[in-house]
Every structure is written in C-alpha cells, then in structure tokens.
Amino acid sequence: MMKSKTKGTVLSQSCIAPGIYDLKIKTTLASDAHAGQFVGVFTKDASALLPRPISICGVSDDKDSIRLVYRVAGKGTDEFSRLDEGDDVWLLGVLGNGYDISKLAAVGNTEPARVLLLGGGIGIPPMLELAKELKAAGVNAVSVMGYRDDKAFLLDEFTAYSDTYVATEDGSLGTKGNVLDAVRENNIAFDCICACGPMPMLRAIKQFAGDKPAFISLEERMACGVGACLGCVVKTKEVDHHSHVNNARICTDGPVFDASEVEI
C-alpha cells in the first residue's frame, strides 16, 4: 500500500505503567500494518513539527485500528498522553519494513522453527504484535521480556501467543538481570532471535546469537521517516543499495535488520 499522511481517531487511551501509555487509533493505515513497522505521529503544537516515530504494538483483527504503546519522553509524547477517545490524530505511515514472518518460519533446524522474542523496556511493545503474527502463522515462539521492576506492562498478553519469561533489573519478577540472563537461566533453545530494546541490549544479543540469525529493530533520530532525508542511518557491513556507502536508512531499509549486516 502507498504511504500516506492521514487523520485517525482515538478509540481509547490508558496509562498502563508509570509514563507508559496504551493508545488505540482507528485509521486506514491499519489495513496494511505489520509487526516491526511504525507510524509517525504528529503533534498539534506548531513548534514541534516532526513526526514522532512510534512502533506498532498491535493491529486489530478487523484491520481497522492500530495500537501504540509508548513512553512519554518529551513534549510530543507528553501531548499524545493527553489524547482522549474521539480526538483526531494525524499519522504518517505505514513506515519501515517490519519482520518477515515467512522468513522467520523458514530459518532454523527444527520444524517448525523456534523463534526467540526478546524485548527490553520500551522495545517490548512491537514484540507483542510479532508474537501474535507468529502464532497465527503457526511458528513456535518463546518470549522473554525485560523490565526495570514489577511494572511489567503487556507481559500477561504475551502468554496468549507464546511461552513467556520475564527478567527484571531489581529482581522483583522472574530472573534478576536482563533478558539474556533469563534465557540462560531457563535454558531456552532457539533457532533465531528477534529483538527490540536499548542499544547495549541489542549489541549483547548480536554477540549472544553467534551463528544463529538475529533480527533486531533499531532506533535513531528521524526527520522525514520515508527515506529521503538520510537522517537516520546505521553503518552496514556491505555497501547499502541506496547511497552505496555502507549507511542504510533505518526508516526505510529497516528498522528491522539482520544483526550480522549492521555494525552497532
């Protein structure tokens, strides 16, 4: 589907953990939205002009609405947190490549493949839609989500789609430590990894994966969101297809990359 800037309508919003909001928006963009993709959300404040890239946490079964779970990090997201049922919200989308479900189903040695989903902090929301789409495709998934403390937003929802484990930094839930500590502690076997979270976590996962494929979702300061401005790039092992300089565009060539192809 062609990308567009379009007006959506807020269906509901709730605060699901301190500073974390769950926003459901009725939008035509939902008809072609998939796990790993994102939308640009516009503020109504003319001093804060650029679209805020927010990953898709869910797409409704009727393909009529999307769900965004985001953290308030500045004046744009603070404005979004005050959106209420019936409010208009302008969106740019659907952006980014997303996860390739058929590719995930095909990798690995076991039949069906066992996909390990790792989410850290505000990298957790996009993994929920991925867990849902994998289950729908009949792919075995195990989710391991990492939180700071016991405010474990979305965790119970993962259990509907996958075996689910948890790690917390303060040890209040599950394994004390990070998601990789939980993977080791529970001896979780896998054929490939899909991950989203802070950069130190993604670096550790890239190393941990070894020879197994790891698909990681990257974040960077963005402007256009559509591949024109070259603001959000990541260094790549091979020459990128757009600029031929080993700098891929996160917004359009990603945000999901094969970890072996990017230098992070």
Partner: protein
C-alpha cells in the same frame, strides 16, 4: 485563465514551486505522496563526483519551529545518480535541477562536466553553502572572491544554466549575490540552512554528533524573506527563494520579496503533500486577487 509559468535562464517551469535539495531525495521517496508532474521542478539531493558517507549520527534534531540537520551530504556519487536517478526522473513531465556538491573546485567541475551530456538535466544548482561539510565547501560560499571564481570555473565547464546556492551565514548577502552574478551565474538560490546548535541538557551532550547543524523550518522564514529581498535587489539574475515555506501564502510572500521561484524544504517532512498544496495555494491566491500572470507579483513590494 491564470498563468503560473515562470522562466529562469531560458528554462520555463510550469509553476514556480520546487523542493529544497536534500529534502526530497531524487523524488522517488515522495512520488508515493505527490504527482511529480505537478511540480515546477525536482531539485535533487546534492551529488558529488564520488560517493560520500556523510556524518555520524545523530544527524537530525528538532528545534522550536524547525529542525537542525548535519547529514553531511551522504550521496551515492555521480555514476549511480546518472544510472538510477536520472532515468527515474525521465518518466516525469517536470524540470530537473541537479544539486552538485564538492570539496574542491575540481570536484564541482568534474560533476558539472559529467552532467553536461545528460539531456534530462535542465539546470545545475551548485551547493557552495553546506554548513555541515568542513573541507572547504563552506569557504566557497562565504568568501566573495572564492564564490566568484568557482562560479566562473563551473560556468566554463558546462553549457547547462548554473544556479549558485547561497549560504545565509554571511554578513552581507547582497555582496555574495553580486559575486555570483559577476562570476557568470545564471541564477541564485537562497537561503541554505542557518548554522545552529542544540544541547541535550539531560545528557550534557550536543544533540548532534557534528555539534553544529543547519537550521531549517518555519522559524527561519523571516530571515529568508529578508535575504531574498536584499539579494534580488542587488542583482539582475533571477532568484529562487526558500526557507521555511509551507503554504501558497508563504510562496507568494517570497515572490513579492523578489523570488522568481520557490522551494519547499523541511516542511516536506511535516506535510508530504506540501509541494502540491503550495501550487494549489498560489493558484487560489491568484484567483482571489484577480492576478492573471504570476510574474506580475515578482518583487512587487
């Protein structure tokens, strides 16, 4: 029947609306949003003689009413550009202005010569004003003699009309406009971005890896209008105006200040339909005010 055609250096544009180099790629990305046939011209992202990797990230950040960028002119080089981007643009009925960047006079001349044989290229826009590339490029745009000499050198190596893109980071913009004209420029465009800085006070760090970046967006528009006015009154060659243009009304303002054409830059990121809405806005303004020919308003204040 209203007439929106404008002519710059013998090239006739169906309307005066283009987009600012670097905000539109080579048109491919935004062709999903707008019909490129409706634009006066597509101005490409700066292209050099060889691929440039650009600056480290973060390369962009938002500021009040605009943004800062320090992309560093990442581009695939002239060969890939000619093989991929020009054939893409050949499918559209619009003019093509290729923005050229370089680190030395030789770099610019090499690209200008290479493009001289490309029929699809209508004009060259020479970027001697990027604030984010350290090795000399900025010097060409901030020193009168350098600017005049590089203009003359490029003109001697190409038959294509040459637009010199000026930086606002100078004391006297009229002098720079005159220097470009003396060097034989067919037109000038301005303003490029204004050098700025943002500090992330939570992390006690520069917001951009490059420390400084070029500011663009609606917040710089009054500066741009002023400079377009001063430059256009200092020279006889046409001026292409830009800096924070979002609407048809903004475009009209620049044209009244003296611009023969206008570019939409950062606002493409905010409204991907901004260029075509600008065309429509100009037409609406003309109808509302009974203006038959857009040329009537150029420099009318």
């Amino acid at each position: 029947m209203i007439k929106t055609e404008v002519t710059i250096a013998g090239v006739t544009f169906k309307n005066p609306v283009m987009e600012g180099s670097g905000t539109f790629g080579s048109g491919m990305e935004y062709s999903e949003f707008v019909d490129l046939n409706k634009l006066g011209a597509v101005v490409t992202k700066g292209v050099a003689n060889v691929p440039w990797p650009g600056n480290p990230t973060p390369r962009v950040c938002e500021v009040y009413g605009g943004m800062l960028n320090a992309i560093g002119l990442q581009n695939p080089g002239i060969e890939v550009f000619c093989e991929r981007d020009l054939p893409f643009l050949a499918k559209y009925d619009t003019k093509v202005i290729v923005n050229v960047c370089g680190r030395s006079v030789g770099d610019y001349v090499e690209v200008a010569e290479r493009l001289s044989g490309e029929d699809r290229v209508d004009m060259l826009e020479i970027n001697v004003s990027c604030p984010n590339v350290k090795e000399g490029a900025i010097a060409f745009g901030t020193d009168r003699t350098c600017l005049e000499n590089i203009t003359r050198e490029i003109k001697a190596h190409t038959k294509k009309p040459v637009i010199m893109k000026l930086t606002p980071n100078v004391t006297n913009i009229a002098e720079m406009a005159m220097a470009a004209e003396s060097g034989g420029a067919d037109a000038i465009s301005l303003i490029n971005t204004i050098t700025g800085m943002k500090i992330d006070i939570e992390r006690r760090r520069f917001a951009l890896a490059n420390k400084t970046g070029g500011m663009s967006g609606p917040a710089i528009k009054p500066i741009a209008v002023r400079m377009v006015y001063q430059a256009s009154h200092a020279v006889k060659i046409p001026v292409i105006g830009m800096g924070g243009i979002a609407t048809g009304e903004d475009a009209i303002e620049f044209m009244m200040a003296g611009a023969s054409a206008v570019s939409v830059g950062m606002m493409n990121f905010v409204n991907p339909y901004a260029t075509v809405e600008c065309v429509k806005g100009i037409e609406d303004y003309m109808t509302r005010h009974g203006i038959e020919d857009i040329n009537e308003i150029i420099g009318c204040v």
